[in-house]
Amino acid sequence: MELTNKKLNIDEFLKTREEVLKTWSTGEQVKDLNQNINYAASIPKTKNFALILKKAKHDQVTLTQPRAGVALIPDHIELLKFLSEEGEADLLPTTIDSYTRQNRYESCALGIDESRRLGRSMLNGFPVVNHGVNGARQVQESLDKPVQARHGTPDARLMSEIIHAAGWTSNEGGGISYNIPYSKDVPLDKTIKDWQYCDRLAGIYEENGVPINREPFGPLTGTLVPPSMSNAVAIIEALLAAEQGVVHITVGYGQCGNQIQDIAAIKALEQQTDAYLKKYGYDRRVITTVFHQWMGGFPRDEAKAYAAIANASVTAALARVTKIIVKTTHEAFGIPTKEANANGLKCTKMVLNLLADQKVYMSKKLKEQTNIIKEETKCILDAVFEAGKGDLARGVVEAFKRGILDIPFAPSRHNANIILPARDSYGAVRYLDVGNVPLSDELKNYNRYMLEKRGITEKRPVNFQMTVDDIFAISEGRLVGKAKETRK
């Protein structure tokens, strides 16, 4: 089948499905789609991710969600319970381990064994495919809040079958956002197709009365991604999902660090996602937003990590996002303890509470930055559609080839890897090298101008060293990187 942005037809879907379920032994258990849906329909509404998000959007409150996952079921349940109770998390995750993400289920089996033997989790997440639908249901049934799978899996078809069958009502990912930052050599047309499958699956649940939330992974590589680039990808994935019948979509954005730019990016993302969905005929979609606390290298000092966490939460609160993904003070070291994780949540929630009744007020600067992001995003999206001759799915593949879409620091061979980002003097992320991203001349000049300004202030050339310094900046205690000599 050639790649195209069309709703999968059911026969095709079911044929693929048979093969998917064979890729690991636990696939067998979720064979009966109707039964799966019935089970998912039976869980209480208060545990439905999509509905809780919709309510939060309506009430204008921001919900907190941690990342968390360990190898063994009882430990994982204990962990999530702790984050729910002690950490006051509103939404629960299950972070999936890296072997599962690469469909290396045998390695998972080894990791599970080793974890049992050594008494500590040897996997960096919960191997949900190996644990199968019963394991996944056990998790969901032990908790009284909605559960989502958070991963980074290029081919998440089997996983998606298992989690939805277990009543996990949200799935993170997308054909671009779970490929380019998460793999080296998986072709884009394959991941887009595989995620069409996941989206279609969600659509089928939706059509059968079980709202399912889908969340494109906004931050991508989490490192100096210009807002217009990540927004473009989020909007594309929202459109691709909508085509497959997905109704509840959460578009995401990873904090860049300049408060005005970040708020502008959220506003632009929200408004443009809405507008593009309408433009392409996807009505009655429920669009919510998610803000990721700083996704790049984190400060090692705990007090400073708290600062990064709380500062990000201020931005989220003022921008009134629907949910915020929370970091911890252990971020720079490794998977956090449950206590550190709960502390990150509590700190975040406290900031949200302190600012619950406040919001940002429009200034000239905010309007200006919002417009710039929107215009840049439009340049990119126009070019993607054009590259696909009107077909968005094919456009994406072509756009990555040509570097129209180009994600900084991505490991994938299918990413052009030409553009370079850096911060301007105010800490906003700009295109240092715009590569083949088809910005208008005016926008190119603006980006260049803002960086030259920094170059002049700091008396240094505008080049890759600036980018490198910016990569380390936050972990070394500031936003805008200082020239290398002053670094240790």
């Binding site: 890296s98 072997y99 993400r101 690469q102 290396r104 390695s107 080894l110 990791g111 080793e114 500590r120 989790s121 040897m122 996997l123 960096n124 980074g152 930052p181 998460y182 793999s183 080296k184 050599d185 590589t221 490192t223 790049g296 290298g297 090692r300 252990h330 720079a332 070291f333 490794g334 998977i335 956090p336 303890t337 550190a340 620091f409 991505a410 490991p411 890759f464 490198v468 990569i471 380390f472 972990s475 240790k488």
Partner: protein, 137 residues
């Protein structure tokens, strides 16, 4: 000067690419010959690259926490491939969670690594050690 050769890459199912790109840049700036096999690399990928390029050192990065699983038997495989004297370094976030440095160091020394870097040690420190270990001034 005859530039020394270093193979770099990120082992296992690990896709963290940022550090890898920075290390590439820093080693080249420091005058090394860099063979970068990128993320998602197996032990074999590292060893093949080292044999092919007659490398002096393999610098393994592991960020995602599975290094202990991914590195089992690495030194032995090096030996089998005739890379008996090759320097093996590893750095990044090499275990799951925040653990005692000393203990982690010991575990990886046992796995045959010459130098083991805990989280937050930047590549600059590794380059200095490498120069010492290779007698470069």
């Amino acid at each position: 000067m005859n530039a020394k050769t270093v193979v770099i890459g990120v082992i296992g199912a690990d896709v963290h690419a940022v550090g890898n790109k920075v290390i590439d840049y820093a080693l080249k700036n420091a005058g090394f010959n860099v063979v970068n096999i990128g993320v998602l690399s197996s032990q074999e990928d590292f060893i093949n690259a080292a044999v092919e390029t007659n490398a002096d050192c393999i610098m393994v990065s592991s960020l995602y926490g599975h290094a202990e699983l991914d590195c089992q038997g690495f030194r032995e495989k090096c030996n089998e491939a005739g890379l008996n004297d090759i320097l093996l370094y590893i750095g990044g976030n090499i275990v799951v969670g925040k653990q005692e440095n000393a203990e982690v160091l010991e575990r990886f020394s046992k796995l045959g690594f010459n130098r083991v870097y805990p989280p937050g040690v930047n590549i600059e420190a590794g380059i200095e050690d490498l120069k010492n270990d290779l007698n470069i001034k």
